[in-house]
């Protein structure tokens, strides 16, 4: 398990980050003594460090140099400062990447993953196979194939993203806005119609593998996936 050491003086951010990374199977250590960050680093021996700039006593740049003297471990700065100068300073003091506040957890995760991959090699999926399984309905997150009672159906990327969001939040109402945000990527800006079309297609594909009426439209609120197949099994 990869260990991440978080140096951030805002307790809440620290906790949220730790919680989130924990969910993605990282071992997380947070800072305890702001005067002995280099010692703590040595003790924890993490695979990656998240470092804030504004810290009590010495700033993040200082600690970054200290850590660099000890190790080559990847360091990502997380700071509210967003001037070019700060980013240059960070990189020059030995950081590998820079994230500005307010940030999104997904961005942090993506950057951590990419750095870990580059530094420690490919290790993805070491924890488990890529298949989500909810009462026999299986979604293969690597090939986008949906399986139920040995009937397979191939999903498109958009259908897959929808299915994934719905399965992760099964029995919960997901708003159209929430789903639209999942579908957007930087190449494709999805509108309301596209969402409706994809929901219809997904419904049809679910029907094709024998699951009817699981994907419910809640008027004025969004969509909900109901586990109707548990009894079918």
């Amino acid at each position: 398990m990869r260990r991440i050491y978080i140096v951030e003086d805002d307790r809440k951010i620290c906790d949220i980050l730790a919680d989130f990374l924990h969910k993605y199977d990282y071992d997380v250590a947070t800072v305890k003594d702001f005067d002995r960050i280099d010692q703590e680093f040595k003790g924890e021996d993490p695979h990656l460090v998240l470092l804030d700039i504004n810290l009590p006593r010495f700033d993040g740049f200082y600690w970054c140099r200290k850590i660099r003297a000890l190790s080559n471990c990847p360091i990502i700065f997380i700071s509210a400062r967003d001037s070019g100068m700060d980013q240059v300073m960070a990189i020059e003091n030995g950081a590998d990447d820079y994230i500005t506040k307010p940030f999104q957890l997904e961005v942090v995760l993506a950057k951590i993953k990419s750095l870990m991959r580059r530094v420690y090699g490919e290790y993805r999926n070491q924890k488990e196979n890529p298949i989500m399984d909810i009462s026999g309905l299986q979604l293969d997150t690597s090939s986008f194939v949906l399986t139920f009672r040995s009937r397979h159906i191939q999903l498109t990327k958009k259908e897959f993203l929808l299915a994934q969001a719905l399965l992760t939040n099964i029995e919960k109402v997901l708003s159209r806005e929430y789903l639209l945000e999942r579908l957007w990527d930087d190449q494709d800006f999805v509108d309301d119609n596209t969402l409706s079309v994809n929901i219809t297609r997904l419904r049809k594909k679910l029907a094709d593998i024998g699951i009817e009426a699981a994907l419910i439209t809640i008027r004025g609120a969004g969509y909900k996936l109901v586990n109707v197949w548990e009894t079918l099994q």
Binding site: D10, K12, I13, I16, D19, F20, N54, A80, R81, D82, S83, G84, M85, K101, P102, F103, Q104, L105, N169, K172, V173, L174, S175, E177, Y178, L180, E181, W184, D186, F189, V190, D191, D192, N193, A221, G222
Partner: protein
């Protein structure tokens, strides 16, 4: 020289009028006593006094020359004054120097205060970003537990805070523009995409959708961050003033007179004709400001200031209730 002559012409006239009176009295006196002074004697007298008069004025002119030249030149930048030739100018010089020192001190004090204030502003804005992150992250974490309407409300308010902080930060940065200014080659389409990503939830919330019609290879020379800020303002305006109607916001580039033009067009409420020329004024919100509560009137003003400093042009065209196009014209060709 001319200024000197102007100053002295009165004295010269006075001098010759005195000579004239002396001559008249001498003429009268000599004719009463029967004698006579010849015209050549008068001529000689005139010549002599004129000679000394010229010598005197030449001498005086050379002493005062520096002062005259100094006064004529535009010396607003320095406090230096040439050596003074007489009592009056010496006193004036002392007075002037005292005032100059006083103003300089005053100015330095203001400068210092202003700097402190800017520093405080920037620090404070950064400090505010942390609680903002915490709120945003907390909401994201609870995303599916919150009622959608509540989540949307919170998102909207958080975005407003973020936008406001951003405005304040750039406003305070603008005052020290040169310090933080880095021109590089920018792939325009990439920058636009990243800004659209940034405003993703805002687009979705307002039910408007971006459309890109751009040559992906077009590059411009600009400052990534400042230009990004300008495009953020333009984009956020376009979203704000669209009409929740599944409309599109079109990002389009074209080449016009060898200049690259990036136009952002919305199909929103438009801008009233009488407001068009004033949208770049600070705090101007116009007709639309009364309908949209987020209007601060600062976004486009700052965008314009930044474009001026970056040597880009910022143009606005609009037909009310139809569309608004804001274009950035990059000064260099391909």
């Amino acid at each position: 020289m001319i200024a000197y002559i102007k100053d002295q012409i009165g004295a010269v006239i006075f001098f010759y009028s005195q000579i004239g009176i002396v001559m008249v009295i001498a003429e009268l006196g000599s004719s009463l006593s029967g004698g006579e002074i010849g015209a050549s004697t008068y001529g000689y007298m005139l010549l002599i006094v004129t000679f000394f008069q010229i010598v005197y004025h030449l001498y005086r002119y050379f002493r005062f020359r520096d002062i005259y030249r100094y006064a004529a030149s535009d010396a607003s930048e320095t406090a230096w004054l040439p050596d003074t030739p007489d009592q009056l100018t010496t006193q004036l010089k002392e007075h002037y120097e005292k005032q100059y020192d006083y103003y300089k001190q005053e100015l330095e004090r203001f400068h210092h205060e202003k700097k402190q204030e800017t520093l405080f502003m920037q620090q404070w804005i950064h400090q505010m970003k942390t609680p903002l992150s915490v709120m945003r992250l907390t909401i994201d974490k609870e995303e599916t537990h919150l009622p959608p309407a509540l989540k949307q409300n919170l998102d909207e308010e958080l975005d407003r805070i973020k936008h406001g902080l951003q405005l304040a930060l750039y406003q305070s940065r603008l005052q020290q523009f040169e310090r933080d200014f880095h021109v590089e080659k920018i792939v325009l389409a990439e920058l636009v995409r990243s800004i659209i990503q940034e405003y993703k939830s805002s687009f979705i919330r307002h039910r408007v959708y971006p459309k890109i019609d751009m040559d992906p290879s077009l590059t411009v020379y600009s400052d990534q961050k400042w230009l990004g800020f300008v495009l953020e303002q333009v984009t956020s305006n376009a979203i704000k003033y669209s009409q929740h109607s599944n409309d599109t916001i079109l990002f389009r580039t074209r080449i016009e007179n060898d200049q690259i033009v990036l136009a952002v067009q919305d199909h929103g409420i438009g801008i009233a004709k009488q407001d068009l020329t004033r949208v770049f004024d600070p705090f101007f919100t116009g007709e639309n400001g009364r309908h949209v509560r987020e209007s601060t009137g600062m976004g486009l003003y700052l965008a314009k200031q930044i474009c001026d400093a970056l040597d880009h042009k910022l143009l606005v065209q609009s037909v009310i209730q139809e569309w608004t196009t804001i274009s950035v014209v990059f000064n260099e060709g391909r």
